[in-house]
Amino acid sequence: MLGEPFWYNVMSMRPRMLSKYRYSLILLRELVVTEFKLRYQGSVLGYLWSLLRPLFLFVILYFVFVHFLKVGSDIPHWPVALLAGIVLWNFFTEVTNNGLTAIVNRGDVIRKINFPKYVIILASTISAFINLLLNFVVLAVLMAVSGVNPSISGLLSPLYIMEIFLLALGLAFILSTVFVKLRDVNYIWEIILQALFYASAIIYPISLVAASSPFIAKIMLFNPVTQAIQDIRHGLIDPQNTTLYGETHSILLSLIPIAVTLGIFIIGVIVFKVRSPHFAEDI
């Protein structure tokens, strides 16, 4: 006999019903920690890459677009605005790309145990968000060095970041659900992202478009990604960055991208909620 095995003690404790959300939180925390531990595994510079990657990308784009092509010379501190755009765009692509494959990649676990699947998507989104915060460190340094002109509306920046967060998360919910059944989505999304990148006025100022067609520039600003990035640039870097409100002077119209974002997020949550009980069979 083993004597009194230790599990008697554990099990004689009144088993507490784990509340649904407590379980999700425990899992979320552990998945985010794991993802972060594994992100730069085996690399010498490790987390430093979170800072170096956007920096190098910025240097390249700066030389190509600012130095040689002379884009954005009309906007003060354009290089800083460029970096802000790149950093936010990278966050958007990271969330949607990682989210897209997240459910399928975790297929082995999903087939073995029942747990709230949204935690997987949320964990990869939060992990990307932490990366974004690290990127902001680089951005803050550059802002300080180049002496930007922030305005009072800069205080709204966290809200716009939240907007991008929700938009990307909602899209990740939709994409991951569709990807379980239809593996083409991977490539389709890659193309859409590519198009969206050039349509979102990230590497060129929107004034460049406005110069030839003010109407198209206005339409472009209804894209939630553009609107949020432009508002952040306007508030934190220089008021000369065009915003949707600045162009339309209508609060109602300015709310359209936010409504689109919330709509996509809600659709994403519903689609995911309806389909996730069947993931184990469909993967």
């Binding site: 083993l2 095995p5 230790f6 599990w7 008697y8 554990v10 099990m11 004689s12 404790m13 088993p15 507490r16 019903m17 784990l18 407590r22 379980y23 425990i26 899992l27 925390r29 552990e30 998945l31 794991t34 531990k37 594994l38 595994q41 676990v109 999903i110 087939r111 073995k112 145990i113 029942n114 747990f115 059944k181 239809l182 593996r183 083409d184 009980p277 069947h278 184990a280 069979e281």
Partner: protein
Amino acid sequence: MDGATNDIAVSVKNVAKDFLLPHEKNNSIKSSIVNVFKRKDRRIEVQHALKDISFDIKKGEFFGIVGRNGSGKSTLLKILSEIYQPTKGSVRTYGKVVPFIELGVGFNPELTGRENVYLNGAMLGFSKKQIDVMYNDIVEFAELEEFMDQKLKNYSSGMQVRLAFSVATQAKAEVLIIDEVLAVGDAAFQRKCYEYFKSLRETNITTIFVTHDMSAVEDFCTRAIMIRDGNIVASGTPKDVANEYTRANFVAKNEQKDETGYELGLNDRVPYFKVKPSGKKTIMPGEDMVFDIEYEIKDDTPVNVKISIRDTIRGVDILQNGAKALHKAGRNRLSYTFPTAELNNMELIVSAVLDEEGTNKRIAHTNDNNSGRVIIDAGDTANLGIINRGHELHGYWNGWHDI
């Protein structure tokens, strides 16, 4: 205590589970568009894994589920663990269910043993604090004290299983679903696992135990059911169910059925394949041996029917690979005639195979039961095997037709 044991822990009502098996999975846009246009060709097979399952498990019971592979047992387990949704019916569980179906869920080879304990613990619903408390017990039970800071990929598979099992034993479940695969590792660790299973009987944890091992059922369980082809075919005391299982298994073995539920050599595509003498089963030398080859095939793939005739007394092949190309779905019958002029005193077994034309992939074969047997016996007049090997042995096909 008595009052509590009357309560229901798990209630399964009329549960059915169908799986749709499309012949080609629509995993890309192209294939789904193509399939929209040729809807007629799109065959979706419905597999009824579970047909109509109902049972209740009382709190504190040690409930056994037995059944052969492919009986629907694993599907039931996944439905009880809420990994799969039932097509019909409902499952209600009262209290926290911990499925012990697979060990080490979420284990990551790139993390250390310690990190994996926390990760796997989180999958089972334990916070970091809770694991801090039980960490030493887990490591001690796994007997891996010196290895906890090494990466999991450097563990042997036995070590990984031990670690996973140790974490799992900590799960504060009210309903525990255990797959027998858990009793793993070396003999000493297996004993430990069985001690743990046994100890569960003393607690008021409801345990669902799935196994092939009838002695384990009789040792641990208070009640059991047996599943076959998606239905409950026996239910009652562990002894009764174990006896029924052994009996059914014995019958099944005699039928030479394998895990898929088909006889050896047969499958979904070719569910029927038989060679039988159409004339006399004992013939005189010189008489023609005639036999029919019947098979059923589900698709139109061109196939070659090949036969071989073997003398079982001497272990000599008389004829090999008399082939005939065919491509027709459905039930087919061929007739084959073989002159036995040169043969005597033999016990012939005629077996057949179906090979895919071109690829030569074997689709089916006739097993001992499905092959035809003919005896050539001239009586006392001669006892030689092959009388005259002057010319080659040939048979001839007499055509084929549907039946």
